[in-house]
Amino acid sequence: MSENAAYDIVQAARSQSKIDSYTLINGVFSDFHELHGDRLHGDDPALIGGVGRLNGRPVTILATNKGRDMAEGQATHFGGVSPDGYRKAIRLMKQSTKFNRPIVALINTPGAYPGVEAEYGGQGEAIARSIQTGLGQPVPYLSLIFGEAGSGGALALATGDEVWMLEKSTYSVVSPEGYASILWRDGKLADQAAAKMKLTPSELLAAGFVDRVLPEVTTPETLSALTTQLDLKITALAKLPVAELMAARRQRYRQF
């Protein structure tokens, strides 16, 4: 991909005009109830958890949250999830199995929060358990990347039966700035890094990391189209015998 095309997508994925998590949740689902807290330590606003309906069907909703303004951004560490957030996700993932609720995860995070408290709280352990718990729940699980998806902090919610992306989103092991500064010792080469990293939806689709790329959601019509697509897929997954669902999920991640 050309430098401009790839870096344009990086910037669009990070743009202020990107749909925010609550607008996305309320636009796609009805009857949304936010459920707070990890029952261990705290409540991380960078990870929204809750339940709602997808075309009438009860689902568990997990979404990273960058915040809608500066104050919210500071509270959510601009979408950098802390251990409390991942543990909230883990709690609700397990609950989804009890009530046979499919899981829909909505991802827009630069990565897990890089803080001292997060390290003390076991950031690595929390992400590891989130990956493991998500892979293990015998209910349909869809992950949709709608902005940035950076590193293990994104993977924690991106182990669904399918992983989808919006057109202006990215998924990578490190940010282009990080890649350029680590491998080329020059963080200013982010645009060149973006072109090389194969982090755009079309490249990731071609490489088999992503199952589907959808148009951006901006209007009520596009939100409703997304609802329809999610519902069709969840309905199809819900029809599979559990053993088949789990075998397909295992195969999806075993191939890499």
Binding site: V116, Y120, G122, Q123, A128, I131, Q132, G152, V173, L199
Partner: protein, 276 residues
């Protein structure tokens, strides 16, 4: 006083000191004391603070196992994922470590106890998690599940391998699945976290074991210190990612010096054989 009894002046002494092979003395990366190399002993431990100096996989296996038979010894990264810059790094890593990848896996006996074992080697691209690393670890857990054996894993890693992009990230999910299946078969997974264990390895299989041991003062964390410093413009406390801190915060079962590891591992595994 005859001149020959005079002490050497400082500059002469400094020049002579320079001629002493530098590998005779090493500086402990943890307590910063200078240690006569031979004083490190067979376990390569600092006599002052107990820090375990970084070991290559071969040296590690020698210390821990009585017999070892390698799996997938030639397995290496798919050439389709390797560009020129990465190829150069791989060549250097192979020369530096004598290994084709950042982990060695196989079957071993530790005192007569059969185990599946994996040892990561920080001499190979800082033990980074490439797709071949992940494949070898996945096969190790799969084989251990088939043979109904416990897994002992020594981690040492700087995290994901940037050069492989999402191929690297996906290893975290792939190995995790194999760990889960092994655990669901009622088998024990014991990990020993060694210096350093960070990034994507910490955020996956390093933190998924039934029993989590660590070496004294080992650096263990997710986000690297420098990333935290440059992102938040703060200076984290000196020991914020050391094994002792993780023990205090509840993320490690125990800290075990190398000299005690063999006996501890065997005892713990024998206490954990009653699974389904």
């Amino acid at each position: 006083m005859p001149a020959k009894f005079n002490g050497l002046d400082k500059s002469t002494l400094a020049k002579r000191m320079d001629k002493i092979p530098s590998d005779l003395y090493v500086t402990c990366p943890y307590c910063k004391q200078s240690v006569y190399h031979q004083k490190l002993g067979p376990f390569q431990e600092c006599p002052h603070c107990g820090y375990g100096f970084r070991l290559g996989a071969a040296a590690r296996l020698k210390i821990v196992t009585d017999k070892f038979e390698a799996f997938d010894a030639e397995l290496a990264v798919d050439p389709a994922l390797v560009d020129d810059q990465y190829a150069e790094k791989l060549t250097k890593a192979k020369q530096h470590s004598g290994l084709p990848e950042s982990v060695v896996t196989g079957m071993a006996t530790i005192d007569s106890l059969q185990v599946a074992i994996g040892v990561m080697d920080s001499n190979f691209m800082m033990g980074s998690l490439g797709s071949a690393t992940g494949e070898k670890l996945t096969r190790l857990f799969e084989e251990a599940t088939r043979r109904r054996l416990p897994v002992v894993l020594y981690t040492a890693s700087g995290g994901a391998r940037m050069q492989e992009g999402l191929h690297s990230l996906m290893q975290m999910a792939k190995v995790t699945q194999a760990v889960t299946a092994h655990g669901e078969a009622g088998l024990c997974y014991l990990v020993v976290l060694t210096d350093p264990t960070t990034g994507g390895v910490t955020a996956s299989f390093a933190m998924e074991a039934d029993i989590t041991l660590a070496e004294p003062h080992a650096l263990i964390g997710f986000t690297g210190r420098r990333v935290i410093e440059s992102t938040l413009h703060i200076k984290p406390p000196a020991d914020f990612q050391r094994a002792e801190t993780l023990l205090a915060n509840g993320f490690v079962d125990d800290i075990v010096a190398r000299s005690a590891q063999k006996a501890t591992i065997v005892s713990l595994l024998k206490l954990s054989q009653g699974g389904a």
